[in-house]
Symmetry: C2
Subunit: 220 residues, 2 copies
Amino acid sequence: MSNQYEIKKSNRVRQLKKKARYDKKNVHRILDAGLVAHVGFNQDDGPVVVPMLYGRAKNEIYLHGARKARIIRLLEDTNRISLNVTLLDGIVLARSTFNSSMHYRSVTIFGKPELIEDHQEKLMAMRVISENTAPGRWDEVRDSHINEVKMTGVIKVMIEEASAKISTGDPDDQPEDYEIPIWAGILPITMKTGELQNDKKLKAGIKPSKTLNSLQNKIF
Amino acid sequence: MSNQYEIKKSNRVRQLKKKARYDKKNVHRILDAGLVAHVGFNQDDGPVVVPMLYGRAKNEIYLHGARKARIIRLLEDTNRISLNVTLLDGIVLARSTFNSSMHYRSVTIFGKPELIEDHQEKLMAMRVISENTAPGRWDEVRDSHINEVKMTGVIKVMIEEASAKISTGDPDDQPEDYEIPIWAGILPITMKTGELQNDKKLKAGIKPSKTLNSLQNKIF
């Protein structure tokens, strides 16, 4: 199996090509670091973008929603979606607006969505999404009722094309602009988890597990 | 002028209707809190989703890119885009996977993109995007060269339809699940800026302005 996603018309990066990556290692690492994917598809020939939780296993992405939800019915009926996961890492404050930009890790994939019908495969995919959102939690909560699995629509997207874009580094100003007496540099941005907050209805004496505690103060 | 965005087929929220908002105050507040929009449109009849910086003024959203970039040429030629801005606020850890979810603020808009040709209008829109990204910075950097403005493609999107969805609160478990001796609650998520990092090429003695200092350690 190739370590690279094939470069086609759809996923070839045209702008800032130096930042482009097509290897599975980088693409998967960014997908596995993100929490929410923005999924784009067509409804009545018009584009729609919807934020969705997701998870990845090998070359597949899983999405879910209520089985009867519009989004699941639309994804089931569509031949191709685009999906983007972007993590912001900072604002690049250059000496001009023109050269100012962002630090980010971003992945765009294209593929055909497919509704998972098989109960066991559905459970596996639901677990992958759960593990991407809150690792370890799946094994701690009560088992899913059969009816809950039935009420959940799970979509599998085989990654057909993918590209990543990673932007880091100092501002890249025009040579003459370095003489301007103005501060320039990076304003970092971090997304992180905080401290666990008890459900107000939590029974006295129930503490978070070790696994849950380890999810606190984590940087994405 | 109405305080509400009209509810149409495209923007009517079907799932979790209680979380839906159509008033301009909520829609604009979320748009003004975000940094990156996910823009969905069609290329060769297939959907594409691209993360872009943006800014809002009144009922208009501005986007930009290199004038010759594919994204600007495609947006110029398309009749309708969907744009989503989502801010994640936490993971809702319920007692079952089925009832687990997220805290978020999310806005979806639809509209027709239009390339701004007029130099002054372009500058105004570029300023709005800059102010949404790094408030106050526009007035501190050197003025944009006429050629830089020419090389920038700026897109205006009049918001035709919009909806917001705001999710807060404790887990909503099945009544019988509250008896399960498992911890439940919220794992908050925060996106924030950090401390300014000097450009390695910064000349000695140049300090960040008051405005820049005030952008540090800010929560989105």
